[in-house]
Amino acid sequence: MPICPWTGFLFTADWGHNLHEPACGQCFQFLDEMLAGDYTTDLLVDDIKVNAWYQFPWLAWTEPEELASAVTDLFQGYQVNIFAPSHGNVIRKDAARYVDQLAEGMRQASDMAVKR
């Protein structure tokens, strides 16, 4: 995941994206614009969970709390201001405000994955 140390721009590729409606012109909205409409932070957690669960089958071998801690540690290690997943709405400022949702989404994704 590349990060720009000057701007705090973190490009997260396949991780941390939310669902949105292309037909409604939401592809190029920022997340705060989505949240000003019908979208909610609860939906954001759910989207992060479902997308990670689908995208990362290896979550079945992980521990939910460790995944959540890894997200928290990431934001403690870097000053992230802009959060840009490939497939979701960009968080254009104060991305650290969403660390709880990102961590909770990964906790739930790990918990949802099959544990044998």
Partner: protein
């Protein structure tokens, strides 16, 4: 493998099918050349792969077949089983098993770093064999998620996979390992 090496191995035989493990660049970037060299070649990929996006620029869409994991296909009288890959960096990755020879084509899985000049060596031709550290270094690099993986959980799935599938040989990432599982 270069096209020249592929042509040399085929020795004039026209291939009619490609069984793609996954669409990542190192594993599929010569697909356009393959398709142009041998017109009409059929490509089998997992249903989980978005082939109409990822492969359509390289191969005509009507030459692509999406196959569900755990499907047995009969290819010129020979069964091949397409499996959901256990180790993968793309959700649409598949492994291919040949019940007749008990060879598992494992894509990215079970690779290892080898000495320079040993790219085409079989495992039995490596005087020093393959050390655990070589497998470990490769997998930590290829599958960065292992830092969060609980070994006992992964090993349990690995044991279950091989318990259900008699594998004599592994064909992995361009090298054939003549080792019993």
């Amino acid at each position: 493998m270069s096209m020249a090496e592929l042509a040399s191995i085929l020795d004039g035989v026209k291939p009619v099918g490609v069984f793609l493990t996954h669409s990542e660049l190192p594993h599929s970037s010569n697909l356009r050349t393959v398709s142009e060299t041998w017109s009409g070649i059929q490509v089998d990929v997992s249903t989980i792969m978005l082939s109409y996006i990822e492969l359509a620029p390289a191969v005509p869409i009507d030459q692509i077949t999406n196959v569900k994991p755990d499907t047995t296909i009969n290819f010129d009288g020979r069964d091949l089983i397409l499996l959901d890959a256990l180790l993968k960096d793309q959700p649409g990755s598949q492994w291919i098993y040949d019940p007749m020879t008990k060879i598992l084509f494992s894509g990215d899985g079970f690779g290892y770093y080898h000495a320079p000049g040993k790219c085409h060596a079989f495992s039995g031709e490596l005087a020093e064999g393959i050390q655990t550290e070589q497998f470990q270094a490769y997998h930590h690099s290829a599958f960065r998620f292992f830092r969060w993986v609980k070994a006992e959980r992964f090993n349990s799935d690995l044991d279950r996979f091989f318990a259900n599938l008699p594998v004599d040989r592994l064909s992995l990432y361009g090298r054939l390992g003549a080792q019993s599982s």
